[in-house]
Point group: C2
Chain length 285, copies 2
């Protein structure tokens, strides 16, 4: 995406997004409700068009480019399937669109998830709709899989099976996978790279490992913690009785002396995300 913006009327949904997806990598696309995640994925899949800027797939513009689009599959939250067809028929239709289709994988996964393919899509629960859409996505030959909330409405067992299926596919096919999700803790280990968007802007774009190496929680008595972290990029504060914790993002200053009363702990992606996108102070107040 090169300087991509998207407006609806006067409303700016995405503002000048600039980033690149590397081949064969799993991306986590994180953002709050309304941040612009689904709009971003719909742009990548050419279902909507940018107001300005350019979207290239392997150096080719995606707009009106069947070859480029054949490389991309978007599993979206919207349910676009015709109501009258069985799941089996829908899979055959997907094959027509993409040329190839891994029916064996689709049947195997349907078995694992206990999904009968003779049913109609419109009769499925939210959870089973997610399962079917994921199966269709994984069985296409697309080199870029865009998965918008792949675990929507799924129980913990099924969410685990979904993460396993994505990982198995990744190890076998080395595709580029973009996963948009609100269950950050659960996919933290799956993502190699993190993209965080907040109110239409890309506010973080980095390798998961590097990001976590820069995220810390400094814990101790309020006064000592405040003194030690002065000048650091403090993104959040929490208190538990007389103990205070400051979340900081950025490199630590090795020259500073850490008081005995203060300790530095790792923090996780979910906490980091919450504080980086906490526009209202909704959590941890």
């Amino acid at each position: 995406m090169k300087q991509v913006a998207k407006n609806y009327g006067k409303k700016e949904i995405l503002k000048s997004l600039d980033f690149e997806l590397q081949p064969g990598k799993i991306y986590g696309l994180l953002g709050r409700n309304g941040a612009g995640k689904s709009t971003l994925l719909n742009l990548l899949a050419n279902r909507i068009f940018p107001t300005s800027g350019e979207i290239l797939v392997d150096d080719q513009n995606v707009i009106d480019n069947a070859q480029a689009l054949g490389k991309i599959y978007l599993m979206s939250e919207k349910n676009l399937y015709p109501a009258s067809q069985s799941l089996e028929q829908l899979l055959r239709g997907t094959k027509l669109l993409y040329g190839k289709f891994n029916f064996q994988l689709a049947y195997d996964l349907a078995g694992e998830f206990e999904l009968s393919l003779q049913q109609k899509f419109s009769k499925l629960s939210t959870g089973y709709r997610s399962i079917f859409k994921l199966i269709a996505a994984l069985a296409t030959p697309a080199q870029y899989l865009l998965l918008d909330e792949p675990t929507l409405g799924l129980d913990a067992h099924h969410r685990n099976l979904v993460y396993q299926a994505i990982m198995d596919d990744y190890l076998e096919n080395h595709r580029t996978v973009v996963i948009a999700t609100h269950l950050i803790d659960e996919i933290a280990n799956l993502m190699e790279h993190v993209l965080i968007i907040d109110r239409g802007k890309l506010i973080l774009d980095g390798e998961t490992e590097d990001i976590l190496a820069n995220a810390h929680l400094v814990v101790g008595p309020a006064k000592d913690v405040a003194k030690y972290t002065a000048g650091f990029n403090i993104i959040g504060r929490e208190a538990l009785g007389r103990i205070t914790g400051y979340y900081i993002y950025g490199p630590l200053d090795d020259q500073r002396i850490l008081p005995d009363t203060v300790s530095i702990e790792q923090t996780d992606l979910q906490k980091l995300f919450i504080y980086l996108t906490n526009n209202q102070g909704g959590i941890g107040k």
Copy 2:
């Protein structure tokens, strides 16, 4: 619910359910995808009818009973709203159905969630649909609130706001609330009572506190753990290197001597749920 069963054709969705909801209590309704949670809630709200058995609200049959039904509000996963109306109009329609409606609360919550009520329901994302449906539910005067996946598609901030809104309403109005969800960890503290259904059967019906008092993890070397737990109700097993953990459900035997190598730990509702409903061995294999 008295001996309620529900079939679709030859398929038994619910099998002889027998339970009672107490006034002024928060219930967690837990079950895997396809277990029958939504069917159960739709029966309670009289949107569908039981194949056999009886459903009473304050001792009155719900079928064709407007007074009894006015006491119940179901926030369902299905989106039943007419596409052409604004959210504001939909709220006015809800008032017509229920007589009273707390518009002040609805406006306050819409402000907290940053939801403009001038929009059309069909234009909302999955997350904002959940938010709107929850607002409509909390603003009705219904004494029984049935919430089917109230946090579907919501980010962590918004999920937290939802739990807070449910708790605030509960403290003020003392209604009976039934929450069906797959995010068990997050609502564990909110639920006073747990109902678990598995493949159409009610397999657990108890106070959260009592249930947790009976759920244990026994950890130690495999041989010692197996010996100590022999005869107990073992619902799951995990291993980490040479250390083994058995999940057991039921009272402990105080006569048994606990070896020094073995320790007994608390377990949480999510783990208990996973093992009680693990028909396929999908997790923790």
